[in-house]
């Protein structure tokens, strides 16, 4: 089950990319970014995701919608190529595929906790908690920023090499996860979906 946990963690991070991250050498812009992201209460956007796996001949592509409610509800609705839904709420991840539902409690998978905690800490402006799990590097300006998160914990570093999040002000644009084996995924956030 351990592998699954890491997978979940990576995914959650990707999902939660609508939110944000932090940095160690805290320039004023980073503090401002945290405040901006924390002020955002909800979001509903489209996404496309491309996953490149070494063992596959071509990348896996999917697309759908992301929904976010502050502070801890996140939903990823994949519409293509096949419908499936992932919901993260109060630390419980629910996956619906076909007519089956899988539920897992993140607390039972400690490897995932840093990922979730990083998001929660960011949204809450809790920098101390964030820096417990990642080395955070902030680049750019508030108008066009990049966060590079490198796991501190050795077990996480084993699966995930680093995570690069790019955005503009309180909007996240891309989340790129690079795994240690060279596989990578890129989640691109599209425009806001009209309510």
């Amino acid at each position: 089950m351990r592998l699954r946990c890491t997978g979940v963690g990576v995914l959650i991070l990707a999902l939660a990319a609508c939110a944000a991250a932090a940095q160690t050498t805290a320039p004023p812009a980073f503090d401002e970014l945290l405040q901006l992201l924390a002020a955002r209460r909800h979001g509903h956007v489209t996404f496309t995701e491309v996953q490149q796996l070494a063992m596959l001949d071509r990348p896996l592509e999917s697309s759908g919608e992301l929904l976010y409610e502050a502070p801890d509800r996140l939903e990823k609705r994949t519409l293509k190529p096949k419908a499936q839904t992932l919901i993260l709420e109060h630390g419980v991840l629910t996956a619906r595929r076909g007519h089956r539902t899988y539920v897992m409690e993140l607390r039972d998978y400690p490897q995932v906790v840093p990922f979730v905690e990083s998001i929660r800490a960011t949204l809450a402006g809790d920098r101390a908690a964030l820096e417990r799990f990642f080395r955070v590097q902030f680049d750019g300006t508030l108008g066009a920023w990049t966060l590079l998160l490198v796991p501190v914990d050795a077990t996480l570093a084993g699966a995930v090499k680093d995570i690069r999040i790019e955005g503009e002000r309180d909007a996240v644009r891309t989340v790129e996860i690079r795994q240690s084996d060279g596989d990578r995924s890129l989640l691109s956030i599209g425009p806001e979906v009209a309510p």
């Binding site: 089950m1 351990r2 592998l3 699954r4 890491t6 997978g7 979940v8 990576v10 995914l11 995701e49 996953q51 796996l53 063992m55 596959l56 001949d57 071509r58 990348p59 896996l60 999917s62 096949k82 499936q84 992932l86 991840l93 996956a95 595929r97 007519h99 899988y102 897992m104 607390r107 039972d108 998978y109 400690p110 699966a159 596989d183």
Partner: protein, 781 residues
């Protein structure tokens, strides 16, 4: 003095024989006292489960204190030691090595274990669909789990097996080992080799765990589970019986010493009591396989009544002994015997033992008091004169009689209390008799929640003539139950057939696998349109070919995995062959709804080839106990009827019988009303206690009856004094019992102590006023 000498000789001989029998008897404190003597088919299944079922052999171990790293190290150390200990068949602590062994086993044998392995699965269309599904999973959270396996298992058999095996309710992991939800304790789940009913072996197992843990500074070991409770119950009952007997004996000795002011008198008092207890134990040992600890606990109750006989003898002057006191005692003993003999035919061995013990104990005590004790009284025997106390008592009674019309309030108030609480009068749950302290039960609940090991309440028991057909039955049932999971009727179930697939099923699955060249061709075709090339899936072709030619899987292949131990635990040898057990898990709460139970039963009924029963362990146990409770009620009423009949034969007067019976009935009513008014729910032991009120109280009532019927015989004040002291002794004894931590003993004490006190005073108040001693005899018509 030849007769007393002969009596003494016979007594000594009988004491030696009884002591010999008692010394060689078997004593138990397990649940055998609660198991029926001639069980029905369902009850037999229940008993088998309680005795040998896997749930009865599960110990939850928690390590707390120190830091997580230390706990993890201790957990690994403890698990390693216990795995090499023959007391245990399975030791799980969630360490990576054992999880890896399990996964490795499942993966290696996936084509024999996966339920989705069918001929259809390996057609071009089947392969295409299965691989496409796997690609979907690859892009989702489980993807990371599947990724390293994908080229060997592109159809996702391993995920299917893991999914079927469990809803993943296992404990969480901290520092590489299982831990509680808050991470503050390391957890291990241990299964003992010995049956749950073998308490000596369970005690040895518990000690082995404690020994293996050793004593690391700052850390503590917690244990829970049925074996731990069984061992603790036995220790508690044993300890309580010893402690309470000691305390009541000391209190009574103190009471009698202060009354008699004579050490010889005190020692002589103990002779009938001890003889009665010994006779009781010896008779129970002869009549039953084993003497239950609870029965010994009733030894205390015997002190309460048997001590009365010698009190009457000593206080009411030996001069009147044979003519007047003894006949009254004789009738009292007979009424008690009537009451207790009613318990003898009980199907509840606990009650039957109590009946036999009391009957023989009282007879022995009475006979010793009558025939042995008088011969032993020293010529100079004298105790303090209690006439003054008696006179005072007589005056008090006289005063109180003025307000005896207030007694009408007793049935009214008691009746009202019983009526108000009529819905919650009885406690019909077996747990009412559980001696385990609430704190330990709470710890058990917590550890179970942490371990994701819910208390198993529902088990499907499939019986078959041999092991292989039991597994086949479990497999068939699994196919019936799986749709119920999808429909949300049950959350899941366990089955031994999942990892110990029956040979017939293995053969079918193996036959579904195509030969290598054929599979290769089909795969090429199936991959059209998918982002995978056949060249990448060469490991898949190799693995299928290996599975096609491998020998069938047997129990031996499972050695050393926790899966194997779990599966073996669900497969038990039973009376007529083998049984496969399929524990069910309810959705959301611990209990299945009535409609869910009905749907499971309906599903079982569909399949006529399998003999399977859905067993509700708790419900069945409660039903069993509830049956005992109704039976005890009936027997108690029968005993009461027998007592009234006996009194009628002896007294030959409706008025006198009524005067003897009325105070007893009033006391029982008052105590029942009092208990329910205090929020108590009545158990089987309350019923037995009421029978004891009648048995002990009848002595009081009979003495008052004698005083009014034959006033020239015996001194009224001395009779009163002896009754007061006898009653104080009884109230002390049962009062001590009421303080017990063992519910069985506490229920009894809290019924009998107030009941006998009331019986004495009600008897005094309701008796016909004694005529002056010099007047002519009046009653007795």
């Amino acid at each position: 003095m030849t007769r007393p000498g002969a009596a003494g000789l016979i007594w000594a001989l009988l004491v030696i024989i009884a002591a010999g029998i008692a010394a060689r008897a078997t004593y138990t404190a397990d649940l055998s006292a609660f198991l029926p003597r001639s069980p029905s088919a369902t009850q037999r299944l229940l008993i088998e489960q309680l005795r040998t079922g896997p749930a009865a052999r599960l110990i939850l171990v928690a390590l707390e204190g120190a830091d997580a790293r230390t706990r993890a190290r201790l957990s690994v150390q403890l698990a390693r030691e216990l795995r090499s200990d023959p007391h245990f068949i399975a030791v799980n602590n969630g360490d990576a090595a054992s999880l890896e062994r399990d996964r490795e086993f499942l993966f290696r044998h996936r084509y024999l274990l996966s339920e989705t392995v069918t001929p259809q699965r390996f057609t071009v269309a089947g392969l295409h669909a299965a691989i496409a599904d796997s690609l979907d999973v690859l892009a989702s959270p489980e993807g990371a789990l599947l990724k390293p396996l994908f080229t060997r298992d592109p159809t996702g058999e391993m995920l299917g097996i893991l999914e079927a095996l469990g809803p993943g309710r296992g404990p969480r992991t901290t520092q590489g080992v299982w831990s509680s939800r808050d991470g503050a304790r390391a957890l291990l789940i241990v299964q003992t080799r010995a049956a749950g009913s073998d308490i000596d072996a369970q005690q040895a197992a518990c000690q082995a765990i404690r020994r293996a843990f050793g004593a690391e500074r700052g850390t503590a070991l917690l244990m829970s589970g049925p074996p731990v409770f069984a061992v603790a119950s036995r220790a508690i009952i044993k300890g309580e019986v010893m402690r309470l007997s000691g305390v009541s004996a000391a209190l009574i000795a103190l009471l009698l010493l202060s009354v008699y002011r004579s050490l010889p008198a005190l020692l002589l008092t103990l002779v009938p009591v001890a003889s009665g207890a010994l006779a009781g134990v010896a008779c129970v040992a002869l009549g039953f396989d084993a003497v239950h600890g609870i029965t010994l606990g009733f030894g205390i109750t015997l002190i309460g009544e048997a001590v009365d006989y010698s009190i009457y003898l000593f206080i009411q002057s030996a001069a009147h002994w044979r003519d007047s006191v003894w006949p009254t005692i004789r009738l009292g003993v007979l009424t008690s015997i009537c009451g207790f003999a009613a318990l003898l035919p009980s199907a509840f061995p606990g009650l039957a033992q109590l009946g036999l013990y009391s009957v023989t104990g009282l007879v022995a005590a009475a006979l010793v008091t009558r025939f042995v004790l008088p011969g032993w009284l020293p010529r100079t025997f004298a105790i303090r004169d209690l006439s003054a106390l008696g006179e005072r008592l007589a005056r008090t009674v006289q005063t109180l009689r003025g307000v005896r019309s207030a007694l009408w309030l007793v049935p009214l108030l008691a009746g009202a209390a019983l009526y108000v609480h009529r819905g919650t009068l009885w406690n019909r749950e077996l747990s009412a008799l559980n001696p385990i302290p609430a704190a330990d039960q709470a710890l058990d609940e917590q550890l179970r929640a942490d371990a994701g090991a819910p208390d198993v309440r529902y088990v499907i028991v499939a019986s078959a003539p041999d092991r292989e057909s039991a597994l086949a039955a479990a497999h068939t049932l699994g196919a019936l139950l799986t749709p119920l999971i999808d429909q949300g009727v049950i959350a899941g179930f366990e089955s031994p057939a999942r990892v110990l697939a029956p040979l017939s099923v293995q053969r079918t699955r193996r036959a579904s696998l195509p030969a290598s060249s054929e599979l290769s061709a089909r795969l090429q075709e199936a991959l059209a349109g998918l982002p995978v090339s056949a060249a990448r899936l060469q490991p898949f072709l190799l693995d299928v070919e290996r599975a096609r030619t491998a020998p069938p899987l047997t129990g031996a292949d499972l050695e050393g995995t926790s899966l194997g131990a779990a599966a073996e635990g669900l497969l038990v040898r039973s009376a007529g062959g083998w049984s496969a057990l399929l524990p069910l898990f309810a959705v959301a709460s611990a209990d299945l709804s009535a409609s869910a139970v009905a749907r499971v039963r309906a599903a079982l009924a569909q399949e006529r080839s399998v003999h399977a029963v859905l067993l509700d362990l708790q419900g069945e146990a409660d039903r069993l106990y509830s049956g005992y409770l109704s039976e005890a009620m009936q027997l108690a009423i029968a005993g009461f009827g027998a007592i009234v009949l006996l009194l009628w034969v002896a007294l030959r007067s409706f008025a006198r019988v009524a005067r003897v019976v009325a105070p007893l009935a009033l006391s029982v009513l008052a105590v029942a009303g009092l208990l329910v008014a205090l929020g108590e729910r009545l158990t089987i032991l309350h019923v037995v206690g009421m029978l004891l009120i009648v048995a002990v109280g009848s002595n009081y009532a009979l003495f008052f009856d004698r005083s009014s019927a034959q006033p020239h015989q015996g001194s009224v004040p001395l009779t009163l004094a002896s009754l007061l002291i006898a009653n104080t002794a009884t109230v002390l004894t049962f009062g001590v019992l009421a303080c017990s931590r063992v519910p069985v003993l506490a229920d009894l004490g809290s019924t009998v102590a107030p009941g006998t006190l009331l019986a004495l005073w009600f008897s005094a108040l309701l008796a016909r006023p004694p005529a002056p001693p010099d007047a002519a005899p009046t009653g007795g018509s």
